[in-house]
């Protein structure tokens, strides 16, 4: 026994080596090499293709009606009373209905320290598709820098995503832009303009469709954007207007408007269509109507 007592470290080292060999064979359920998804989430794919996978979406808000992320991205401004939300979307969750799943969402600061770890234990059902976690973006609790969110499934890293926090003032303020496309038809399936032109023949059942592509919409605030698409006969007042109001949940959006160009309603000449945001002109497109 005296010899045995002296050999304790040897016993432990031998066991360590044995354990290392055992684990080399592999008890990890994930591949060690990662893949990057379209939205820059680093994913560690499961060895079993039917096992759970996760994708991370970072955003400022979640649309209460649609459940979609609002203001999605990877760079966020530090601001009082603002939060950063993470939507963890799963694949193959249907294979785990009625089983208790263990997840951990670990938020890592630029120093590499975990500043918030959220353990989640849940039993998925057919209404579960994702889970949510959020952290404050208040200047009192966050510094500018590169952060990480790591998602662990049964203690094993399955997905991670890097994001940057910057001072609110340094975020570029982009102008909202609109581009008008005029066409004789709209493809019923794709919704895309067909027979795009700037001159249109006045005819029975004739119409002009204006497709307005709007970009650089701010998604950080709950502000309702009020657009107006207005049709003008040159040098006269407008003859038709369409008002559209919405709270943007993405940086881009599309507005449609159309007018009839039958012989009873229109005469040959020069016209224009203008798009306004809060009564300020955003874009204008001129077009011509003619008879055969």
């Amino acid at each position: 026994m005296k010899n045995m007592k002296r050999q304790i470290p040897a016993i432990i080292n031998i066991l360590n080596i044995t354990l290392l060999i055992l684990f080399l064979v592999g008890c990890a359920a994930r591949h060690q090499t990662s893949v990057e998804t379209e939205n820059k989430t680093i994913v560690y794919p499961p060895k079993n293709s039917e096992d759970l996978s996760a994708n991370i979406r970072l955003c400022r808000k979640i649309n209460r009606i649609t459940g979609n992320p609002v203001g999605e991205g990877s760079v966020f401004g530090i601001k009082e009373k603002e939060n950063l939300r993470a939507l963890i979307e799963f694949e193959n969750l249907e294979n785990f209905y009625d089983q208790e799943l263990m997840l951990h969402l670990d938020w890592i600061s630029p120093s590499g320290r975990s500043f918030f770890m959220k353990p989640v234990s849940f039993i998925p059902n057919d209404t579960t598709t994702s889970i949510l976690s959020s952290v404050s973006l208040s200047p009192a609790s966050r510094q500018p820098g590169i952060y990480w969110l790591k998602v662990y499934y049964f203690r094993e890293l399955i997905a991670e995503k890097q994001f940057e926090l910057v001072p609110w003032a340094s975020l570029p303020e982009e102008e909202v832009k609109a581009k008008i496309i005029l066409s004789s038809k709209i493809d019923k399936e794709s919704g895309m303009p067909v027979m795009v032109d700037s001159a249109f023949r006045i005819r029975k059942k004739g119409r002009i469709h204006a497709t307005v592509n709007i970009d650089n919409l701010p998604t950080d605030d709950d502000v309702e954007f009020k657009f107006r698409v207005e049709w003008f006969e040159v040098d006269t007042s407008s003859f038709f207007k369409k008002r559209v109001s919405f709270i943007p949940d993405a940086k881009s959006s599309v507005i449609f408007s159309s007018i009839s160009i039958t012989p009873e309603k229109r005469e040959a000449g020069n016209y224009s269509v203008r798009v306004f945001l809060f009564d300020e002109l955003l874009a204008e497109k001129k077009f011509r109507l003619y008879h055969d």
């Binding site: 026994m1 010899n3 045995m4 007592k5 002296r6 050999q7 304790i8 470290p9 040897a10 016993i11 432990i12 080292n13 031998i14 066991l15 360590n16 044995t18 354990l19 290392l20 684990f23 080399l24 592999g26 008890c27 990890a28 359920a29 060690q32 208790e100 799943l101 263990m102 951990h104 670990d106 890592i108 120093s111 590499g112 320290r113 975990s114 770890m117 353990p119 234990s121 790591k150 662990y152 499934y153 049964f154 203690r155 094993e156 890293l157």
Partner: protein, 346 residues
């Protein structure tokens, strides 16, 4: 142990790792952590075996019963004092004295003192005591207490639960010490030949491993967390602080398996083990000094504190072995020559 502590000081995973709820970014990090899980059960079982063997040897040499027991009570108290003073302080490079915290060394000390009172009992009585504690412990964990009330926290975390005051509550770990004393009955008593020791050791280890796997896989009594699959990370790590029933059975079996392996290697090629036996001659010195060196080193050079990964931890292990092996050899010489009470205790 040294590998685990090297990781603790040099591995950046410790910026994020919560030992109470561990998460692993790679199998390398998992292996590094899990290998260290073997140490505490190993220490407690060896301490139990040592108490049993040493007590009976002292009595056989003519010591009075309570004189022999008193030796171990003193040793237990000494370990508690070492924990409160040197060990607690050395973790942080001797920045502060932390008297309101205990850990593994105090747990071993208390276990040695408790074991002293049952060391003369028959092996099956100790088996019943150990198994009763292991089976009752999950029930005791249901006792609610407040971490804000110090006496409640200290009482519960000294004996039952794990937390900031103590990660190594005595009850579950004491049961491993008792099981270690039982194994000593076999290794140093009943089983006369190496063949017998190897076969019995293997048999006990394998049976216990099966029981542990059954307990875990069935998610029956004593389990703390669910798992994703057989032998997955979550299967193997149920809960260490405090250990779940599965963890205690699993690591008891692995330690028995390790000792059996050690006996086999000792028979085939004893030279392989010679180098590792040096720290084994002065285990407390090894423990106390290596943590102090790591604590002071990372305090003086903060740029190396938790900046690396798995490889850095392995390099740290190699470096510490280079430092510690000659130190242990030197102290063993000092201890052999000295009759000083404290030197003999270390």
């Amino acid at each position: 142990m040294l590998l685990g502590h090297s990781s603790y000081y040099f591995n950046s995973i410790w910026l994020q790792l919560d030992p109470f709820d561990p998460l692993f970014p790679s199998w390398g990090q998992f292996t590094l952590r899990y290998a260290g899980y073997l140490c505490a059960p190993g220490f407690l079982m060896m301490a139990g075996a040592m108490v049993w063997w040493s007590y009976h040897r002292r009595v056989a040499k003519g010591s009075a019963d309570w004189s022999a027991r008193w030796h171990f009570i003193q040793r237990g108290i000494f370990l508690i004092l070492v924990q409160l003073t040197w060990v607690n302080s050395s973790w942080g490079g001797f920045r502060e004295l932390k008297l309101t915290h205990i850990g593994i060394i105090a747990c071993i000390g208390i276990s040695i003192i408790l074991l002293t009172f049952i060391v003369r009992t028959k092996w099956y009585v100790r088996l019943i005591i150990a198994m009763t504690i292991l089976l009752i412990h999950p029930l005791l964990l249901r006792i609610s207490y407040s971490n804000d009330v110090f006496w409640q926290q200290a009482l519960m975390q000294t004996f039952i639960d794990a937390g900031d005051f103590n990660k190594y509550p005595v009850l579950p770990w004491f049961s491993l010490a008792v099981l270690g004393s039982l194994m000593a009955n076999g290794w140093l008593g009943f089983w006369k030949t190496d063949k017998e020791k190897i076969l019995m050791g293997l048999g006990i280890a394998v049976i216990t491993l099966f029981i542990a796997v059954f307990v875990r896989y069935s998610m029956a009594y004593g389990n703390m967390f669910s798992f994703s699959g057989l032998f997955s990370y979550s299967f193997l790590i149920d809960q260490k602080y405090p250990p779940s029933l599965f963890m205690n059975l699993w690591f008891f079996a692995l330690v028995v398996l390790g000792v059996t392996l050690f006996i086999v290697i000792g028979k085939i090629s004893p030279r392989i083990l010679r180098v590792f036996s040096i720290p084994g001659k002065v285990p407390l010195f090894f423990y106390a000094v290596h943590i102090a060196i790591l604590g002071v080193l990372t305090r003086i050079f903060p740029m190396i504190y938790r900046e690396g990964g798995v490889i850095t931890s392995l390099i740290g292990l190699a470096g510490m072995l280079v430092i510690m092996l000659p130190l242990c050899r030197w102290f063993y010489g000092v201890k052999r020559r000295s009759s000083n009470y404290f030197i003999q205790m270390i």
